[in-house]
Amino acid sequence: MHEKLSFQYIIDRLAQMSGVSKKVSESFSKAFFDTIVEALSAGESLKIKGLGTFKLVEVGDRESVNVSTGMRFVIPGYKKVAFTAEDSVIEELNANVENVDHADLTDKEESVEPVSAKEEPVREEIEEEPDIETLIQVPEPEQVEQPQDSFAGIDMLISTPESVEDIRQQYEEAKTKMETAVEEARKANAEKIRLEKLLERLEKNVEPERMDRPEERPECAENIKIEESKKDKEEPTSDEEAKRQEAFNRVMAAPKTEEVKPERKKSSKRSMWLTLLIVLLVAILGVFVYLIYRNIEAVEQVQPEQTTQPAKPSKPAAKPTKPAQPTASKTDKDSLQKASKPDSIKAPKPDAPKPQTEPVKEPKESPKTEPAKPAKPDAKPAKEQKPEVPKTHRMQRGESLTRVSQKYYGTKDSVRAILRINTFANPDNIPVGAVVKLP
């Protein structure tokens, strides 16, 4: 093995094989190779049966640089013999080699194959989750149930139900949960507002009974107006801006006109407080409007929910004062508006606390309606993407969890879901080749 066989060996072997004297075999071998050389010298290429082709190849002049001096110089061209073995020869060689080194070869191949078998996973676009979560978090800290709902969305992504029915069911459950949560939050809000009013009344030392009526009704009207404007937003995109502006103006204008009255009775601190609140309100409303804008595409799916909701928000406003009003607000908005007018005339004093309570309600209610919306569009894309995501992922050089998340779910936010089902010593530095479970 790996010996250098001399020309003499070949001569001897040839003599053996063809049964000729060594002299004859030597002279033949010499003649054989001499003719090859001659032919090549004559510039001919030649083919020898059972061995291969010898070809004369001319290598052209080329320029090079002397590394030590930096001088350019020309390497002169020359002729060389290129040899191409016949296919049969190579086949024969490999047949022999395989018999000899079979074990080595198979080992090598096996070690390589798993990598080769691996296919590039298909990239998926998955609905952005961040939207829901931000939306849910924006509304109110009071709502404890909402975070659970947000997880429900992720869980739906994680679990892999086979049929569309399952997903639909899950979606329905999530939806009902969300709605109940919104309802509860609304009630809590109403409670809060009522208590605030009571506090104010106590401060003023005025009878609560009288003031309640005039206060509440205009608020209801306001709420309805805003809800209407919301509705309109969903349908024509072009008019949205204008209507939002109107809603803003109403909110802004209402407190301003009424501010004059409180100034007479109360200190300037009150008005300061008021303006601060209003500014806060506007900011929150701005955020809300922005979020709506982002979800405009999802609006069509949202609309059915929206239509049911506008009536509700008026409830909390009406509750504290009159039990009869909630029903009225649901059925007829116009009648409410009319009813509110005469009341406001009766008692001008109570208008003072109004502006404060009003603004608080509106922003809170409006964002509350939002969380229900994004749940819908999210549940649907989940159906398509579930089957394609593999169960595990082997980390490669330069990969981070965010990249893995981006790869399989199209969003960086699934990192949290990945972290939940995996345990890493350091999630920021995962060793190459580590297997990560995928939700």
Binding site: M1, K80, L105
Partner: protein, 92 residues
């Protein structure tokens, strides 16, 4: 130059019949290949050396199907001309 022309020339030189030249050249080639198949290199003075070369297995990437394939390792026969032959070829 074809194999036949080549053999004719050899027979002229050796004063052997064509049939015998055919047989002998075939066995000469097989003698060389036999040595190479055992993993040895064969050096012929004034002509060059034949050597079996092992090519390692490698992965290739198919950009259209985005898959990797393994090309198994194999042995090829390489030839390197001798210095004498090189000078003779580049005399002019």
């Amino acid at each position: 130059m074809t194999n036949k022309e080549f053999l004719e020339k050899v027979s002229q030189k050796t004063n052997l019949g064509m049939d015998q030249v055919k047989d002998m050249s075939a066995s000469l080639v097989s003698a060389v290949l036999e040595g190479i198949a055992q993993g040895n290199s064969v050096t012929i003075q004034g002509f060059g050396s034949f050597e079996p070369r092992e090519k390692a297995s490698r992965r290739i990437y198919n950009p259209t199907s985005k898959t990797y394939l393994v090309v198994p390792s194999k042995t090829t026969l390489s030839y390197k001309m001798s210095a004498a032959l090189k000078t003779q070829l580049n005399k002019e």
